[in-house]
Symmetry: C2
Subunit: 342 residues, 2 copies
C-alpha cells in the first residue's frame, strides 16, 4: 500500500513486465482485456497514480496550448491572447504564453520548450522571417502538433494563418488622408521583411498611385514600433525641403512620437499635418488629441486562430487542413486626421 | 537501427529489464558502471533519444519557470515579467506565462498545469485572497517546487515575497497632495481584501491624520482598475455637498477616467482638482495633461523575484529560506497635481 507505487511495483506484484503494465494502463490494444482489467484493479489497490504529464507523453493530449508572441505588452497581442483564451477555455484547454522580444533564438527555444512540454498545438505570431525557425516549426508538424500563425505569418506548407487585410487597411487609410486634402503623405514603415509591413507599405503606395500622387522614397522612413523612433522620424521629415502634410505610421507608438515632435516644433494637428497610426492601442483614444488608427480586430483574430486549431484537432482522419483566414481591419477616424469636419 | 528506439527495444537487445535500462540511462547508483556503459553504448547505437520531458520527470529539472499574473495587458505586470525573464534567461531558464483574469478557478488550474508541466518554480501575483488556492500552493511546496509571490502576496509559510512599500508610497503621495494646498482628498481604492490595496488605503489615511485632516468615509470609493470605474467614481464625488479638491486613485486607469469626467464637467486640473494615479502606466506620461503617478519599480521587482527563486534553488541543503523583499515605490510628480510651480 505504498503511496508512491510505480509501474515496476505493479509488474512485480503481478509477475509481468513493466512494459505490459504500462501498455495495459494506456489501453494498448495489444494487451488482452483480462490483463488490462487485472492491471487496473491492482493499480487502484496499490494506490498507483499515473503522472498526468507521463500520461500526456503517452496519449499525446496534454490539453495545453502554447501561444508565442513577439511581446505581451501591447494591447494588440494581449487582446489576441484574450480571444484565444476565451475560445479555448470553453474547450477545456489551458493556455501557456511565451514572448520572444523579437529575438529569433528565443523564439526557437520557446517552440522547443512547448514541444517538450507536450502542448497539443502552437499558435504563434512570428518574430522574424529568417529560415532558422522553419526547421523547428517543421519538427512540430512532424510530431503532429498543429501550428497556426496569426498576424505575422510565414508561408509554410501545412500551417494555417489568420491575418487582417493589411494592404486593404493601409489603402483605405491613405485614401482617407488624401480626402482630407493632403498630397505629401509620409509613411513610417516597420521591417518590410515581415509580410504585414510589406503589405501595409504596398497598400499605402497603391493608394497614392490610384489617386495620381507621385510616390517619393524620401517620405518613407523605417522605424521600430516605439515613441522614440516616431520622434526622430518626424524630425527627419521636417528637415526635408518639401515637408509632408500628413504622416501615416504603421505603429501607434511611432505615431505618438511623431505627434510629440510636431507639437514641439509648433505644428498644428491636423491643420498643418494629419497623423494616423495603426493598431488602435488604447492610448490613441485616451489622448486629448485622439489619434486616428486602424483597429486590427485583435480579439476576433485570437478567436479565429483558436477555431482553426480546434478544427485541425477534430479532423480525425488526418487530412491536411490549411486555412487562410483574412479579417478586415477597421479605420477609426479621430481628431488627429479630421481636417474636414463633416 | 530504428529511429524511434524505446527503452523496451534496448532491454530486448541486451536481454535485461526495461527498468534496468531506464535506471542505467538515469545514472541510478544501484546499477553497476559496466551495465550503465553498456546501456549507454547500445542506446547510442540504436539511435535512442531520451525525451527531454521524460528526463525532467526523472531529474526534477525542466529548467522551465511558471509565472502567473492577474493579467498581462498592463505595463506593470508586463514589466515585472520582463524583469523576471532578464534575470532567468542568463541562468538558462525558460519562462512560461499564464494569466488568471482575476478568476480564482483559473488561478488554481494554472498552478496545477504548471506543476503537471514539471516547472522548477512558480512566481506569482495572487488574484484573490480566498483560501481555495492555498491548498494547491501547498501542494507545490510539498513537491519542493519553490513559490515566490510578487506584488500581490499572501502570507503562506515557506513562500518568499517581493513587494513595494505600498503604505509608504500612498503616504508620500497623500502628503504631496496636501502640500499642494488640498484638504478634501478623495481616494479611489481597489479591493481591500488584497494586501496591496489595504496598505495603500492605510498610507492615505495615516497621512491625513498626521496632517490634521479629518478622514471621511464618503471620500473613499471602491473601484476596479478601469477607465469606466474612474469615470463613475468622479461622477459620484462631484455630487457630494462638499466636493473634493483632489482625487488620489490606486489605479492609473481609474485616474484617467476621473480626469475625463472632471473635464467633461468643466473642472480644471490641477487648479480645481489635483489628480494622482498609481502604477506609472505609459499613458500617464503620454497625455497632454501628464498624470502624476507612483512608479512601482516593476522591472526591479521581477528581477528581485527571480533572484529569490534562484537563491532557493541553489540552497542545496534544503533549509527553508523565506525572504521578504520590500522595494520603495517612487512618486512621479507631473502636471495633474502640480498646482504650486516650483
Amino acid at each position: 500500500m505504498s503511496p508512491k507505487a510505480t509501474i515496476y511495483d505493479i509488474a512485480k506484484e503481478l509477475n509481468i513486465s513493466a512494459a505490459t503494465v504500462s501498455r495495459a494502463l494506456n489501453n494498448n490494444p495489444k494487451i488482452s482485456k483480462s490483463t488490462c482489467d487485472l492491471v487496473m484493479a491492482t493499480a487502484t489497490k496499490m494506490n498507483y497514480k499515473q503522472n498526468k504529464l507521463a500520461q500526456a507523453l503517452k496519449s499525446g493530449k496534454s490539453h495545453n496550448i502554447g501561444v508565442i508572441v513577439p511581446r505581451i505588452n501591447t494591447n494588440f497581442f494581449a487582446s489576441v491572447i484574450r480571444g484565444i483564451e476565451e475560445e479555448l477555455y470553453s474547450h477545456k484547454y489551458n493556455v501557456i504564453i511565451c514572448q520572444t522580444h523579437e529575438d529569433e533564438k528565443r523564439e526557437i527555444e520557446n517552440i522547443n520548450m512547448l514541444l517538450n512540454a507536450q502542448v497539443d498545438g502552437i499558435l504563434m505570431s512570428v518574430s522574424n522571417m529568417t529560415s532558422e525557425n522553419d526547421r523547428v516549426i517543421e519538427k512540430a508538424l512532424e510530431k503532429r502538433v498543429p501550428v497556426v500563425f496569426f498576424d505575422r505569418k510565414k508561408n509554410i506548407e501545412g500551417v494555417s494563418t489568420v491575418t487582417i487585410n493589411d494592404f486593404g487597411a493601409a489603402y483605405t487609410t491613405t485614401k482617407h488622408i488624401i480626402e482630407q486634402g493632403c498630397s505629401k503623405i509620409a509613411y513610417l514603415t516597420g521591417d518590410r521583411s515581415l509580410e504585414i509591413y510589406e503589405n501595409r507599405f504596398n497598400g499605402y503606395k497603391q493608394a497614392l498611385i490610384d489617386n495620381g500622387i507621385e510616390f517619393k522614397d524620401e517620405y518613407v522612413i523605417k522605424i521600430k514600433s516605439s515613441v522614440e523612433d516616431g520622434h526622430s522620424a518626424a524630425k527627419k521629415l521636417l528637415k526635408l525641403k518639401v515637408k509632408p502634410d500628413a504622416i501615416f505610421s504603421a505603429s501607434d507608438f511611432a505615431a505618438l512620437g511623431a505627434i510629440k515632435e510636431l507639437k514641439e516644433q509648433g505644428y498644428k494637428i491636423p491643420e498643418d499635418v494629419c497623423v494616423v497610426g495603426f493598431g488602435n492601442e488604447p492610448f490613441t483614444e485616451f489622448m486629448e488629441l485622439s489619434i486616428s488608427s486602424v483597429d486590427q480586430c485583435s480579439v476576433a483574430m485570437g478567436k479565429a486562430a483558436a477555431q482553426v486549431f480546434l478544427e485541425q484537432v477534430k479532423n480525425k482522419d488526418g487530412a491536411k487542413i490549411e486555412k487562410k483566414v483574412v479579417l478586415n481591419g477597421e479605420l477609426l477616424i479621430r481628431n488627429s486626421s479630421s481636417k474636414i469636419k463633416s
